[in-house]
Every structure is written in structure tokens, then in C-alpha cells.
């Protein structure tokens, strides 16, 4: 048959339901524009917001990761800003708080890092001298082993090394910032220097740096972290305490707590154990960013509702009008033998195409919008999220099909005789 057709020089013209759908769409495309714009814009906005939110959340997670600790124990009068600027103005907590925590039997403490931070000026530049306690000191203090299981990581906790607990091996200082790793050994006259501090003071391993007339040998220069650690000079806690005549006091205790345990009551336990200290969680530290993220999530939810309402109503309205306009055509198709199921498939097929095209273009535009807006409004680089394509198509197609259900049912249920007898 096909050979005969070709011999006659007739190009092959198929006729399927899809052809009817596509040709009808092309014929009446102006009527489709409103619905198409509604659904495409809706998906564009949702994809844009979700993409920016996702990368914003990642940025927060990265910041928190850089922070290392997820709980800070500060003097009552100090703020988190004071902690980062090392501007404690003599606000301190006693070093015995470490004993209190270890002896309290609180579950979920992965790591403890007592710190005393003091601002120093070297070569007319401001640095932060930070007294820390090396891991070896934790191991050597019987009092800090009293808690026994306190440094045993509960199931599901992070992989941060725990002082005093069995570890898988020595950590390499080159690979991790001091916030995330407890320095294994640090002599009383040794210092570990942050990246910027080393650069500005021209320090390298083995150099000597003099702080308040105390000479320290640089044991290590830390890799760049992009955090406040880059301008820190880390020395032994007790050396710093002695240099400033502070006695056994601390500026802060950084705690790496197991997230599950934090929600189960670690913070409450710490507050009870240390009534004169301020216990701050990372959620509070990053509250502004988290609030922004929450707002973005709520925005995307609001837009989802709007798209469902506006897009759905628009598509349903278009389909109703389309059925009305095609009454005679539908009546004729029924008269020549089209079944209700075939008619339904034509309308649902049309909705499917509308949903797929609207969803795909909406995803594309939303992604472009996010890539353009991300660095401008959230100060973060944004990349396309292919996973959102399926999500966008799913919403768009589901909405189109849902909005088409009643008009399509009306079309399939049309009385052909009534439409054929209409003048």
C-alpha cells in the first residue's frame, strides 16, 4: 500500500489523535496563550524560588560546617558577635565548666573545645590569639574521663573526632580547620597560625612569632578556610591564660553535639548544668539566614497555591470554552463513531501537551531566573537543578489534567443530536 502511495508521489500523511490535538492547538493558539502563560509563569516562579532556596540552604549548611561546633557556651553577657570578634570585654566562664559538662553525664556531646580568645595587634594589624586545649590534654585529665561515655558518639552522630575516645587514626591538620578537629598536641610555646595571619606576618612552619613578649614557634600554618580562623593564632590555652593573667577562665566552649541529641534535650541539659552561661545553638546563630530560607519556602508554597488556583482556573476556563466552541465538531465526531473514551483522550492529550510544554518551559525560565537572581539577591552562586524538572513537569501536568477533567467529561457526554440540530 505504501509502495503504491510512493509511486503516486504522495507524501505520507498520517492521521492520529495526536495530529488532531496538535492541529487544533495550532489553529486556536491565541485562545491557549492565557492558560499557557499562567502555567508557565507559575512554574517559572516556583522553580526559581526553589532553586535559590536550595542553594541558600546549602550555603547555610556550608557555613555551619565551617563553624564546626553546633553549640556554643558563652558568658551570660556575651553575644555571638562578641565571640567572633574576640571582644568579650572580660566576660568569661570558668574552665571548670568543662568538668561540669563531662561529669554531667549528658548524652550526645561529640566534641568539646574550650577556648580563650584575646585580640592582639601585630605589625599594626589586628589578630585573634586563641587559647585551645590539645587533644592530648583531654586524654591526660582523669577528671574529664569521669563521664565515661560522654564522648561516645551515639548512633547517627557526626564523624568529628572525639578527644579521649578511640579514634580511627591521627587526623591531618592540613586537611581540616581547627574548629573541626581537636589539635592533637600543642606545646606551651607552640602556635598554629591561620592562613591570613601567616601571610600577613610572613610566618611559616618553624618561624617564631612574638605575642605580648612571649615567643611561639609556629608548628603549623593552617590552610585557608574563608572563616575567622584564617586570622587566628592558636596557642595552648593555659599559656594564653597565663599571658593575660586570667586564671582558669574561658571565653567560650565550643561543643559539637549530635543533632538528634540536641533536639532531644542536650541544650536543656547544658542550660541546667551551667545556669550562669549562655548556651547558643547554631539555629540561633544562623537564624537570619534560616528565616530567609523559611520565608522563601513559604513563598514557594504560596506560589504553588496561586498557580493551582490561577493556572487551574485558567486551564479549566479555556477547556470549557474550547468544548463549547467545538460542540458541532464533537457532535460530528460522535456521529461518525468516536467513542467517549476517544474523545476524553483527545482532551486529556491536549492537557498533557499543555502541561509538559508549560512545565518544561517554566523549568527553563525558572532556572535561568534563579541563576541570574541567586548571586544578586542571596549572594550565592546557583546552578541548574535537573531534579526540579520532574517536579515541575509533575505539577504542571497534574494541574492541567485535573483542570481538564470536568470540561473533558462534558465533551464526552455531549448529546450529539442536540449539537447537530443546532443552527
Amino acid at each position: 500500500m505504501q509502495v503504491t502511495l510512493r509511486r503516486k508521489g504522495l507524501e505520507r500523511r498520517t492521521m492520529r489523535k495526536l495530529d488532531i490535538i496538535l492541529k487544533e492547538l495550532c489553529e486556536r493558539k491565541s485562545q491557549l496563550v492565557t492558560s499557557f502563560i499562567a502555567i508557565t509563569l507559575g512554574i517559572t516562579v516556583i522553580v526559581g524560588i526553589r532553586t535559590v532556596t536550595f542553594y541558600s540552604e546549602k550555603a547555610v549548611a556550608r557555613e555551619l560546617d565551617n563553624l564546626g561546633a553546633n553549640v556554643l557556651i558563652l558568658p551570660k553577657s556575651a553575644t555571638v558577635s562578641d565571640y567572633y570578634s574576640a571582644d568579650f570585654a572580660n566576660a568569661e566562664v570558668p574552665e571548670s565548666y568543662v568538668d561540669t559538662i563531662t561529669a554531667s553525664g549528658l548524652q550526645g556531646v561529640d566534641n568539646l573545645s574550650p577556648k580563650l580568645t584575646m585580640p592582639v595587634r601585630l605589625k599594626d594589624k589586628r589578630f585573634i590569639l586563641t587559647g585551645i586545649l590539645p587533644k592530648s590534654e583531654f586524654k591526660s585529665k582523669p577528671a574529664w574521663q569521669v563521664g565515661g561515655d560522654i564522648f561516645t558518639k551515639p548512633m547517627g552522630c557526626g564523624a568529628v573526632d572525639v578527644p579521649g575516645a578511640k579514634t580511627s587514626g591521627d587526623s591531618d591538620l592540613d586537611k581540616a580547620a581547627v574548629r573541626k578537629e581537636v589539635i592533637k598536641d600543642l606545646g606551651p610555646r607552640e602556635a598554629v597560625v591561620g592562613f591570613d595571619a601567616a601571610r600577613l606576618l610572613a610566618l611559616k612552619r618553624g618561624s617564631t612569632v612574638s605575642v605580648k613578649n612571649t615567643n611561639f614557634t609556629v608548628r603549623k600554618v593552617l590552610p585557608q578556610t574563608g572563616t575567622v580562623d584564617d586570622s587566628r593564632i592558636f596557642a595552648h590555652l593555659h599559656t594564653v591564660q597565663t599571658m593575660y593573667g586570667k586564671g582558669r577562665v574561658l571565653s567560650a566552649i565550643e561543643v559539637v553535639g549530635c543533632c538528634k541529641e540536641i533536639s532531644k534535650g542536650l541544650i536543656t541539659g547544658l542550660n541546667k548544668a551551667l545556669p550562669d552561661a549562655r548556651v547558643v545553638t547554631v539555629s540561633q546563630i544562623a537564624s537570619t539566614q534560616l528565616k530567609t530560607n523559611n520565608m522563601m519556602s513559604q513563598f514557594s508554597l504560596v506560589f504553588l497555591v496561586i498557580i493551582v488556583l490561577v493556572g487551574g482556573v485558567s486551564i479549566a476556563n479555556y477547556m470549557f470554552a474550547n468544548v463549547q466552541e467545538r460542540r458541532k465538531e464533537i457532535g460530528t465526531l460522535i456521529a461518525i463513531g468516536m467513542s467517549p473514551r476517544q474523545l476524553l483522550s483527545i482532551f486529556y492529550g491536549k492537557a498533557l501537551i499543555l502541561g509538559i510544554v508549560g512545565g518544561a518551559i517554566g523549568y527553563g525560565l525558572g532556572t535561568i531566573l534563579a541563576i541570574w537572581l541567586g548571586p544578586r539577591i542571596a549572594h550565592i552562586p546557583v546552578l541548574p537543578m535537573p531534579a526540579l524538572l520532574g517536579w515541575a513537569l509533575g505539577i504542571s501536568v497534574a494541574l492541567s489534567l485535573l483542570a481538564t477533567a470536568i470540561p473533558a467529561k462534558n465533551a464526552a457526554g455531549l448529546d450529539p443530536a442536540a449539537t447537530l440540530m443546532e443552527v
Binding site: R13, R28, E329, L333, M338
Partner: protein, 229 residues
Amino acid sequence: MAIIATQSLVKTYGRGKKEVSGLAGVDLAVDQGDYVALVGPSGSGKTTLLLSLGGLIRPTSGKVIVDGTSIYDLKPAERIELRRSRIGFLFQTFNLIPYLTALENTQVPLMIAGRSCDEQQAIAQSTLERVGLGDRLHHRPSELSIGQQQRVALARTLANSPSVILADEPTGNLDPATVESVAGMLRELNDEGITIVMVTHDPRMAAHAGRVEKLVDGKVVVDELALAV
């Protein structure tokens, strides 16, 4: 044996006091190969009777029997299948799908019947050639004359080789020359054995039919003029 018959066919529209009679007990028998013209004044029930014969208007009472089967006792899907395979409709306003070409319009009933794409094209093309539109295959209805549009509609009617054609005022919108052309084609089809039941107001068209039935107020009546035809 009658290929189409009605038994005491009654169709009433509306309810209660607003009830309007469409058909008031029609008994009609159309044999295989008959060419019957249904005539009568407007509102006499001609179109209602025609659409009832085609399975599109369920009667209030009575039966429509096609090939020995009471079609309104069939399941909807079976009635659709019967209409698809046995009956062809021809309308006064042609009812072509405006965004499809002549070839595509003719392919539609074949597509609905599940014929392959190659079959669709071959049958549609040969049918259009038969009605004299071999050179207008890819023209849309808006690019065709009124007469050509009705010929496309006729090709669509013939696509699935129906044994019965139900035509509702097929020449009502045509100029006299085209009326003759369409009348000639219907005559030719009837000569080939296709049964035709045609509603018409046009005495010239009725004259082509082998038999004329006059409807008045939903009933078939004996009419001298009709008998003369």
C-alpha cells in the same frame, strides 16, 4: 427484509406541560438498496427520525431495528461500533473539521475505526478522487468552494464503506448546479447498493429518491404528491 425499520417510534422532548412531540408513532421500513426521501414541513420530525435511525436520539418508546437488531437495546459501545461500521452521516452544513485538510477530514472516520495510517491515506485519497477532489487533497475547507466542501463531507461519509447513508438536507446549502452534482453522486451510490435515507425540502432532490415518505406532526402520512413522485 428491511435493513432499517422503526416500530411505533415515539420521541417526546421536555416534560410535563412543556412536553413537545418530536415523533408520534412512526412505523417505517427501509429495505436494502432503498433510496428514501423524508419530506415534510419544518418541525415535522424529519431530522429527529433520521438521527434516531442513526442511533443518536434514544426514542421515548418504540424501537429502531437495524439489520434485525434493536439498536437502543445494545450497549452504548456496541451502538457506537454499529454506527462506525454500518452508517454514514451527511449533513447540511457539512460539519468538516476546519483545521484539517480534505484528506485529513476523510481520514478521521478511518482513524476512529482503528485503520492503519497507510490504509487511512490510501482509502481517503481514492475516495476523494472518486468524488472529483483528487487535486484538492491538502486544501482546508476554507480553501474549498461550498460544493467541494460537501463532496469532502461525502468522501468522509463513504470512507468506512457504510451500507446505509443518512443524509440531512445534503443540498440545503448548495447552488443548483452543485445540487445536481451531489444528487447524481447519491444516485450513483444507491445504484451500487448503498441504502440512502435523506431528509430534504427540495422537490428536485426528492425526485431522485425511489420513495418519498412525508412526515407531519411526527407521523408518516400518505401524500398524493409524494405518491406521484
